[in-house]
């Protein structure tokens, strides 16, 4: 499913958070969204999810305007994979994943065998079936993040939004979650992933988009987007890129 953002603007109070943003995420691609804190990455995702109402522009999924859809119809197309966060109540991993299937049910119905099968398949696909009966809050951060991914798969939406999925993970878990995101893109999902680490974009993304002060600063192949100049502009730090056989490596420059 192709996600098209057209001239999207968003204001919070008097401050313009997003200014006429336009871009397209193609089916089967992982699009990394870069930018410093407060630049509007999360706002962008919230607009796509219908959690915030943009003050201008359109968001289209395969030509359908998302703002016209009910939460259920929207959840059928777009899934959000939030950052790992504490929950008030304890649910098992299986129940967490099962909750992803809710949009296919009437609000008064309980999930049945079809929904259970979808949840089981999602867990299996990510190789975490063994966690099914464990309490969600007892998992490691990386496992919890994978459960959120599994929930999005059980949701069977073709567009996945990952809001800084690696923010609170250790190095190994980051690579695992990013690898899972890339594999999903290979399987035909459209994945939008916001990240603080430009290296992630270079390693895993098909395309990258840099947001700065509510505008798109650069958009294209990761190697073209992630340059020393751009990183200087985004983060106000001198950063070099060193070419290696495995691709460019981001290296902070000392002495500033």
């Amino acid at each position: 499913m192709r996600l098209t953002i057209e001239n999207l603007s968003f204001r919070y109070g008097g401050r313009e958070v997003l200014h006429e943003i336009s871009f397209t995420a193609e089916e089967g691609e992982l699009l990394a969204i870069l930018g410093p804190n407060g630049v509007g990455k999360t706002t962008l995702f919230k607009c796509v999810m219908g959690l915030e109402r943009p003050c201008g522009g359109r968001i289209l999924a395969d030509g359908t305007d998302l703002s016209a859809l009910s939460p259920r119809a929207r959840a059928h197309r777009v899934a959000l994979i939030p950052q790992v966060h504490p929950l008030s109540f304890r649910y098992s991993v299986f129940d967490m994943v099962l909750m992803g299937t809710s949009h296919s049910l009437s609000p008064l119905a309980l999930p049945g065998e079809r929904e259970r099968a979808a949840a089981r398949n999602a867990l299996e696909r990510l190789g975490i079936s063994s966690l099914a009966d464990r309490p969600f809050d007892r998992l490691s951060g990386g496992e919890q993040q994978l459960v959120f991914v599994a929930r999005a798969l059980a949701q069977q939406a073709k567009v996945l939004l990952m809001d800084e999925p690696t923010a609170s993970l250790d190095y190994g878990n980051r690579l695992q979650v990013l690898g899972a995101a890339r594999d999903l893109a290979r399987d035909g999902y459209t994945v939008l992933l916001s990240t603080h680490d430009p290296q992630h974009a270079l390693w895993f993304a098909d395309r990258a988009l840099a947001l700065h002060q509510g505008r798109i600063l650069a958009y294209g192949a990761p190697r073209e987007v992630v340059t020393a100049d751009l990183l200087q502009q985004l983060y106000g730090r001198r950063i070099a890129l060193i070419d290696t056989e495995q691709g460019p490596v981001v290296v902070p420059q000392e002495g500033d």
Partner: protein, 346 residues
């Protein structure tokens, strides 16, 4: 899944315990009725509802039947209904506010109902009018709370809680003022006694008055229990998963308010049930509202029935049940929260 099997088994046991307790409660009291006679009398009554009067031979004293049917049956049924309603509402509020500290009076239903009852007593209204006034003011208060929260900017859930606290204290002040001006020889004790909460003096005619609003509220709470799981994850996540959060939350809050107002208006202020029972059930059944909600219904009914039995049998003078629920509830709650967690999914 293993967790679900365990929850189902626990539900079955809870239901069984409630039935046994229900039947035993008829035997308890100053006028003893053997359990076998209780079952016979109840069956005979039930049978006569379909087959007409006088079709069964009576092998028990008429006083026994009067005690069982006219005195104990209404009170036992009412204890079950009120317990079921309060703990169901508590579970719903805790899920909607995704906060295990929420209780049925969080939106001011109890404070409003107390004010309504005190006002009716001050005006010298009949028992029936006191109940209706309590019910009406309970609903009115929550309506006001929702209106205020709707108009205020910012996070809806926080606004609801703040508006609930404010309007509660406003109505509490009103109740205090009514107590001040009430006739100290008869009205003041009546108000005070009403506020303590009691099921004594429940008549058969009172049961339908509580039954219909409660069922009207409990059915949506039961049917929407899966949505409650999603809501308890938080507004944004629930919405992203396809829940129409505004609508579902409104229906849940209105239903929970309806049952709270109905139970407070027939039984007075019975605290703690709506907070303690959901916690107890979470330990028994887990947090999944598919099992937690029916579990709370059953467990709440059994809990209040048990406490009411103590309230009418422990001492020669009946202890108001509101005092006992606090006396039992508070230490029990402390035990629950200090108990070491087990390494399982409950």
């Amino acid at each position: 899944m293993a967790n679900e099997r365990r929850a189902r088994r626990a539900l079955l046991w809870l239901g069984l315990a409630l039935v046994v307790l229900f039947l035993l409660s008829f035997s308890l009291g100053r006028y003893g009725v053997p359990p076998r006679q209780v079952v016979k009398i109840l069956c005979a009554r039930f049978w006569e509802l379909f087959a007409g009067k006088g079709t069964l031979e009576r092998t028990w004293a008429p006083e026994m039947e009067t005690v069982v049917i006219n005195i104990r049956l209404p009170r036992i049924v009412m204890a079950c209904l009120v317990g079921c309603a309060l703990s169901g509402a508590g579970t719903a509020f805790q899920g909607v506010f995704h906060n295990p500290m929420a209780s049925p009076d969080i939106l001011g239903a109890s404070s409003g109902a107390a004010f309504g009852a005190a006002l009716a007593i001050l005006l010298g209204a009949s028992t029936r009018m006191i109940t209706l006034s309590a019910f009406g003011f309970g609903l009115l208060t929550v309506g006001l709370v929702m209106l205020v929260a709707h108009r205020a900017p910012g996070a809806r859930l926080i606004n609801l809680i703040l508006a609930g606290i404010m309007l509660s204290s406003l109505f509490n002040a009103g109740t205090s003022y009514i107590k001040l001006v009430a006739d100290p020889s008869n009205q003041l004790p009546q108000i005070t006694y009403w506020l303590m909460g009691s099921l004594s003096g429940t008549r058969l005619a009172d049961v339908p008055l509580a039954f219909f609003p409660m069922v009207l509220g409990l059915v949506p709470l039961f049917l929407l229990r899966w949505q409650l799981n999603l809501l308890s994850l938080g507004e944004q996540e629930a919405r992203a998963l396809g829940v129409d959060t505004h609508l579902v939350r409104l229906v849940l809050l209105l239903s929970a308010t309806l049952v709270t107002a109905a139970s407070v208006s027939v039984s007075g202020m019975i605290g703690w049930v709506g907070l303690v029972v959901p916690h107890l059930c979470r330990k028994l059944l887990g947090s999944d509202h598919r099992y937690l909600m029916p579990g709370s219904f059953l467990c709440g009914a059994a809990f209040l029935l048990l406490v009411d039995n103590v309230s009418r049998n422990l001492l020669a003078v009946e202890i108001p049940i509101g005092i006992l629920t606090a006396l039992v509830g508070a230490p029990f709650f402390l035990y629950l929260i200090t108990r070491k967690e087990e390494k399982s999914c409950v």
